[in-house]
């Protein structure tokens, strides 16, 4: 019997970076070095991380949908189980699997063929699929095993735990923006909100047509999931902005911190006057 409430096993998941038993170092905002990241060091030719399972160079799919990195991890597990679900329909080879996976998700989660074969190899290693003899065209189909079927059933029966999702980079970024001197937090919020609303606009355009068949409906539900998540992000950003405005309006606490310092685009002059650092004018990116 399937035990609901516990997620499926996930041998593909990355090992935690912290060794077991050790405690993470205390948070130190001063340790943040914005110059440490070197975009030039990024090499798109490097193999794609099979765990993340999303091609980082794929900024848009055939329908012109911008891909949001926060969905990457969801795809990681979805690819594994997605392939199992497709194989449950019958034996398939790599390119077929890729095409069907993308059709189901409406191309919002593009896969490269390398990811499909890497995942198939792992599934085979774990005894969840079995390779069949090559066909006349030289393609090797795979079929699902009873163990694979059980794994799939367990996946469908188990909720996805919040804790299994990636840490939210945006939340971390805002926390760092607030505690790093010289960052205009309101500009960070506004930049993100504009980008997220733009994503929402694209998603809305994509779902403009009415669903036809079952696959259309599946694709539409995937899109709407992205719509709701993006909307939640905008609402959270609105909340952050309001909370920061209230925070900036309160007197500075005794520890000498300057609440208004990072809230550079403070609307009222009297807010600016409260700033105990060099003043908002030096950190403000200003309104566009």
């Amino acid at each position: 019997m399937v035990r609901v409430g516990r997620r499926a096993t996930a041998p593909d998941r990355p090992e935690p970076t912290q060794p077991p038993g050790s405690t993470p170092p205390p948070y130190d905002p001063t340790a943040y070095d914005p110059t440490a990241y070197d975009p030039a060091a990024y090499d798109p030719a490097q193999p794609v991380d099979p765990v993340l399972s999303v091609d980082p160079t794929a900024q848009s799919d055939s329908r012109g949908c911008a891909i949001h990195t926060r969905y990457a991890y969801c795809v990681a597990m979805s690819v594994r189980h997605g392939l199992l679900a497709l194989l449950e329909r019958g034996p398939r080879y790599g390119y077929q699997l890729r095409a069907e996976f993308e059709r189901t998700t409406g191309g919002t989660w593009p896969l490269n063929i390398g990811q499909v074969y890497t995942t198939l190899a792992r599934l085979e290693r774990d005894g969840l699929v079995r390779a069949l003899p090559e066909n006349d065209g030289g393609q090797r189909p795979y079929e699902i095993t009873p163990a694979g079927r059980a794994e799939l059933a367990l996946w469908f029966a188990s909720p996805i735990e919040r804790g299994d999702r990636p840490r939210d980079e945006l939340a971390i970024k805002l926390a760092l923006a607030l505690t790093t001197p010289g960052v205009d937090v309101r500009a960070v919020v506004q930049t993100q909100r504009t980008a997220t609303v733009r994503t929402l606009q694209e998603l809305t355009r994509l779902k403009g047509r009415d669903p036809g068949g079952r696959e259309d409906m599946a694709w539409r539900l995937v899109l709407e999931s992205m719509v709701f998540q993006a909307e939640a992000e905008v609402r959270w950003l609105d909340h952050c902005e309001a909370a920061l405005a209230r925070f900036a309006a309160t007197p500075a606490p005794l520890d000498g911190a300057a609440p208004a310092a990072n809230l550079a685009a403070a609307p009222e002059p009297e807010l600016a006057a409260e700033s105990t650092v060099d003043g908002p004018s030096q950190v403000a990116r200003g309104t566009r």
């Binding site: 923006a177 790093t180 001197p181 960052v183 609303v197 733009r198 609307p267 060099d278 990116r285 309104t287």
Partner: protein, 234 residues
């Protein structure tokens, strides 16, 4: 001929005077063309509704100009202004503003001779069969669609919607937005005030108001501009 339907030129609106003066809008400029739907987002008190009221001639700017189809509203007398509001501008409000003692068709238009126009508008929103019902005989979604039909009656080129999805559920709200979108696609200009990003996403352009100023639009992102100011880090 310009396809500019609505233009706000450096519009400022100050409510009250002296110490109690409230700057609802500060030097806002905005252009909305035919076939374009612009959504306005922003926190409460950011000036969203003031902007909409000015655009529809329901309020007058303290300074600056509001131009609807090439006509500066500030230069009109009250009668001319009323005619513009009646014939060229369609309003959709959150609280519907349907008259309870009139049927759907009568709410659409209260003059017998243009009853056919009202019926056409009701047909456009898929409610012709409810033309003879009174507002309290219809669901919230149906009432809102009647309100939209009213905004679409005749050849109105400017649709102004203030939180038109109000308390409607997500499916009904979406249907309402599709109607506005369809009318805009057919050549009208639309301004949609909303605090819900999901609804704003139906627009071609989303502008963000804060403290009476436009702080951003969902146009293309600026270049790789650093949010960190040199000399302030570390």
């Amino acid at each position: 001929m310009s396809d500019l339907v609505l233009e706000l030129r450096n519009v400022t609106r100050i409510h009250g005077k002296g110490e109690v003066a409230v700057h609802a809008l500060r030097g806002v400029s905005l252009q909305v063309r035919a076939g374009e739907l612009v959504a306005v987002m922003g926190p409460s008190g950011s000036g969203k509704s003031t902007l909409l009221n000015l655009a529809g001639g329901l309020d007058a700017p303290t300074s600056g100009e509001v131009v609807v189809e090439g006509v500066v509203l500030g230069r009109m007398n009250r009668r001319e202004l009323a005619a513009v509001r009646r014939r060229r501008v369609g309003y959709v409000f959150q609280d519907l503003n349907l008259l309870p003692s009139l049927t759907a068709a009568e709410n659409g238009v209260r003059l017998r001779r243009v009853r056919a126009t009202a019926m056409a508008a009701l047909e456009e929103v898929g409610l012709a069969h409810l033309a003879h019902r009174f507002p309290d005989e219809m669901s919230g979604g149906q009432q809102q669609r009647v309100a939209i039909a009213r905004a679409l009656v005749g050849d109105r080129r400017l649709i102004l919607a203030d939180e038109p999805t109000g308390a409607l559920d997500s499916q009904t709200g979406e249907a309402v937005l599709k109607l506005i979108r369809a009318r805009v696609d057919a050549g009208a200009a639309g301004v949609l005030v909303t605090h819900e990003a999901r609804h704003a996403a139906w627009a071609d352009r989303v502008i963000f108001l804060r403290d009476g100023c436009i702080v951003d639009t969902s146009g293309p992102l600026p270049g790789a501009e650093s949010l960190l100011v040199p000399g302030q880090t570390g």
